[in-house]
Symmetry: C2
Subunit: 337 residues, 2 copies
Amino acid sequence: MAGYTPGEQPRDGNYIKLNTNENPYPPSPRALAAIRECAADDRLRRYPDPLGTAFRQAASRVLDVDPDAILIGNGSDDILTITTRAFVPEGGTMAAPTPSYILYRTLAQIQGASLEEIPFSDTWQPPSPWPAADANLSVLPNPNSPTGTMVSLSNLKRLACECNGPLIIDEAYADFAEYNALTLLAEHKNVVITRTLSKSYALAGIRFGFAIADPALVREFTKVKDSYNCDMISLAAATAAIEDQAYMREIRRKIIATRERLFQELVHLGFEVLPSQANFLWCRSRKQPVKPLYEELKRRLILVRYMHFEGYGDGLRITVGTDDECDRLLAELRKIV
Amino acid sequence: MAGYTPGEQPRDGNYIKLNTNENPYPPSPRALAAIRECAADDRLRRYPDPLGTAFRQAASRVLDVDPDAILIGNGSDDILTITTRAFVPEGGTMAAPTPSYILYRTLAQIQGASLEEIPFSDTWQPPSPWPAADANLSVLPNPNSPTGTMVSLSNLKRLACECNGPLIIDEAYADFAEYNALTLLAEHKNVVITRTLSKSYALAGIRFGFAIADPALVREFTKVKDSYNCDMISLAAATAAIEDQAYMREIRRKIIATRERLFQELVHLGFEVLPSQANFLWCRSRKQPVKPLYEELKRRLILVRYMHFEGYGDGLRITVGTDDECDRLLAELRKIV
């Protein structure tokens, strides 16, 4: 087993990092204040609240869901690990669309399960009917990575009905999109929605994600998770961040504006770019191989993500940075392309 | 499956908490400064170093081991989960002594494996020969919880030789003991030592633990762990804390002094107390049932841990607090016993 290889995280600060979909803006000042407060007395000698009650209450208010419908996680990777362990037996089957988030394959491998990869349709929708209805677990990211495309709400509902097992809708990037799947939860008890504070809340460094699902499912997940899977500082920062919706909306607005401009410029440069509802753009080219472009950009201290998918092909997944960072990227691309 | 129930963590601050082996002293000021530094700029928008290079280098210097022999974890619970997933197949067998840390049973259950519980000898050593030599994984805490007793180095060596599979020596409390098992690593490639910063470093709130093992094993564990299992703040705090050995030694010295005094007083009150090399004492009584004592102490706002083990019996596990906290406990016990 090879294990999952995350995007490059160079330790020196000289790169323009457009490769791991981090937010180019700082976290909410309220989140940073909450972190400093944790270091102001001796509270860190104590174990954190294993259930993350304060976060669940805050998220419950913001998202208008039952606090008991919320499961806290050490990043949404932890949530995906918990749900995989809860649902998928050794020798079982997971299903996910392709091309998509490459972690799903690793999760299946660690669990001793197989992953059935189901190609998206030409319009980036899951095929109808879903050919893996009997999988122990189906996972669908929405928006999808690396494409930034969205599955429609009606197709999500169809998929939730067709799946005999649970369906995870991985909404890591949903805050950048025009809609999300929260409304499905009331009618579809097999749907688990996962979220993260790594992207829209600019808090990849604290590792915090959560799931929203039927409270009966959340109770089962709670038995599988490490008791203290979230630390006290992450919980405090996440609670303050999700309560600061005004700040999140403001940085999201800037990222979406930059995304639309970057999209136009990349199309102008001759790339085939998919309209994206996430904080990244998926760029392919029929004119030239893109791997050398990735390498040349890296030499010029700009990191983007080169990705290749068996049976589909390759491309560059470019995170939407600040306007300045995107201008630097475009200037270099104009010299190279 | 019932899941693991951690010790009570009341959210109000009125209790004297002697039930979950937290450190009564604050974390190192250097750790707290490192946390504040993380909140001073925008670094938290970035993902953390997945390998925790800075921590591994610091721990390598302090413990005089190869940095590649160190695996970082989100608490030592995460380390135990990672190793269980790496070694134990569904339907496999884990082995651990009894009475011991009750999490091991939950870990086996989540993995769909069985736990073989092997009673300690009268002198709190593992029986010779180890009856579970063919288990997929044997786990031995040293010092043991709830007893605070130690397995001798020669018995640890014997056990490492007898086990055909890997042997985890869970050293969560080793900093309070007179020796540890680090010297075994050179000769016994199947030994994995786990440590935590929750106890001796007074950082239960940050969730940080690590393993020390053969670098070839650490490479395999790294494939199983969540890529970003440790967050940036915990890594920074853990690195600063382990570098501040003078501070750790000072609070350890105070805790050991209080432990010895508390031991004498509890014996004086008529309890059967085992000499402990950890930061807690295991108290039993032939004169009266101890569960009502736990309940009465709780009514008087002092939390200790009542534990019952099938085939062995029950007792109170009392964390060593500050001198003041222990005096309060003793004063109440004198009224109740």
